[in-house]
Symmetry: D2
């Protein structure tokens, strides 16, 4: 299994009046991690009509996160691959030189694949499935 | 049990390029529903030092929501009341003249009560508990 | 001349880490004031193809604004009406019982009218011009 | 004169329902360009109490901008340096291999220097002035 790594740039305005990154902005980071993974990298040939709707989001906030110049690493992978839906998992995590990980949040999204021209559910295409399988967490994989 | 009703104003910019309300903005609506409930209404006397951190959010998106002039009703209640944490539940829902409900999303947040001056966990005060109990879903309550 | 009055709801997240309303959010309020004025009120019949592009924004910040439950009044009017462009002026202003005004910001936007199906410039239609003229500041009007 | 170059990452959500970058988000980019220039780069030693308030923003939108993976270059410089205020100018601009420039917007902000502990106006310190002078547009400079 591979995880896609997205280096998420923070914005100063992601802080709220408590002077930490606002909890809602973490959900924004998930969105940009998906866009980076599924749209920007160009590894994936998808039909024009293939799209997604987010049908569920869940986020566990582990540590407060403060604004910083350095981008925030977001790891993305597939934790369940269905016929017309995908569960995507994420960790927002710094890793130090010794490999020690500081997890700010873990999260999951369920995406339904839809035909963007009609808005109707659509099966995951064979090409897209092949792409997603590269990021699929094996059953028995540890705690991700 | 009472539910707090927050009439959430939408912004045109809450739409994304798919021309529906962006999934992240629903999480923003939860935040403003909490602020309306816990801060703006003035029914609640809280110590200056009592605050919250969001430790978990989950949202199930039931229907696409489109921009509209009319505010979006958000119902808020307490689904679990612990010693130093609260689970808040929400429904984003239109109700028609006959009482039929159209649920756009249901959601839950877990909040940890903290001392805002030190950032340390803090027990829910007696006054705050008394307030929250008015919104507490009884065990055995139906479909919340 | 009439001014359109938009009562702009604030969001808690409009505050930044300096604990006042962030300067960029004022520009967001201008957008929603325009939407309220030109789209939501239903007084205006416009062709489906009539739209706008913002070609200039300017904002003078007069006072710091803090988050509050009460909406912020935004006054909107037309300060120049051209063949294919409109200058819209705004004041973000509280008015007390005695009529004394506290101006948080004044602003102007220049909008170009465009054919939304082609993206090309388009003359202001006669119907739209008639609507806009009701909000046109007369030359010689005082300090607006 | 030098211009500071900030490579501004776009977010998918910066698009609005017209499927271009929303005009308000350009103003957000100006904010992050300033933060990058004045806070993140570490070239500048400033007292803890030195801060800014934005007292004016103006933006001229020259071309529509679409979401893209590549960051948007924002050039920043000082166009006027007063005793307690600074006018900052910006261009949002792509430059091709031949040096041809595509300007999406030009903008100016006026910043007032304030003592952050009291919120009162404050003169620009000698150290900060020395920093700003490196970015000061000379009278007679061409097209800035």
């Amino acid at each position: 299994m591979a995880r896609h790594l997205y280096l998420c740039p923070l914005r100063w305005s992601d802080m709220d009046s408590l002077r930490h990154i606002n909890n809602v902005q973490y959900v924004r980071y998930l969105e940009d991690a998906r866009v980076d993974w599924l749209f920007n990298r160009g590894e994936l040939e998808r039909g024009e009509d293939e799209g997604f709707l987010v049908v569920r989001n869940e986020v566990n906030y582990r540590r407060q996160l403060h604004y910083r110049h350095a981008p925030l690493p977001v790891e993305v992978w597939v934790s369940r691959l269905g016929h017309a839906s995908i569960e995507v998992s994420y960790e927002l995590v710094d890793t130090d030189e010794d490999g020690a990980r500081t997890v700010y949040a873990d999260a999951k999204s369920v995406l339904a694949t839809v035909d963007m021209t009609t808005g109707r559910p659509k099966r995951v295409s064979a090409e897209f499935r092949a792409f997603l399988e590269k990021f699929l967490d094996e059953p028995g994989d540890s705690d991700a």
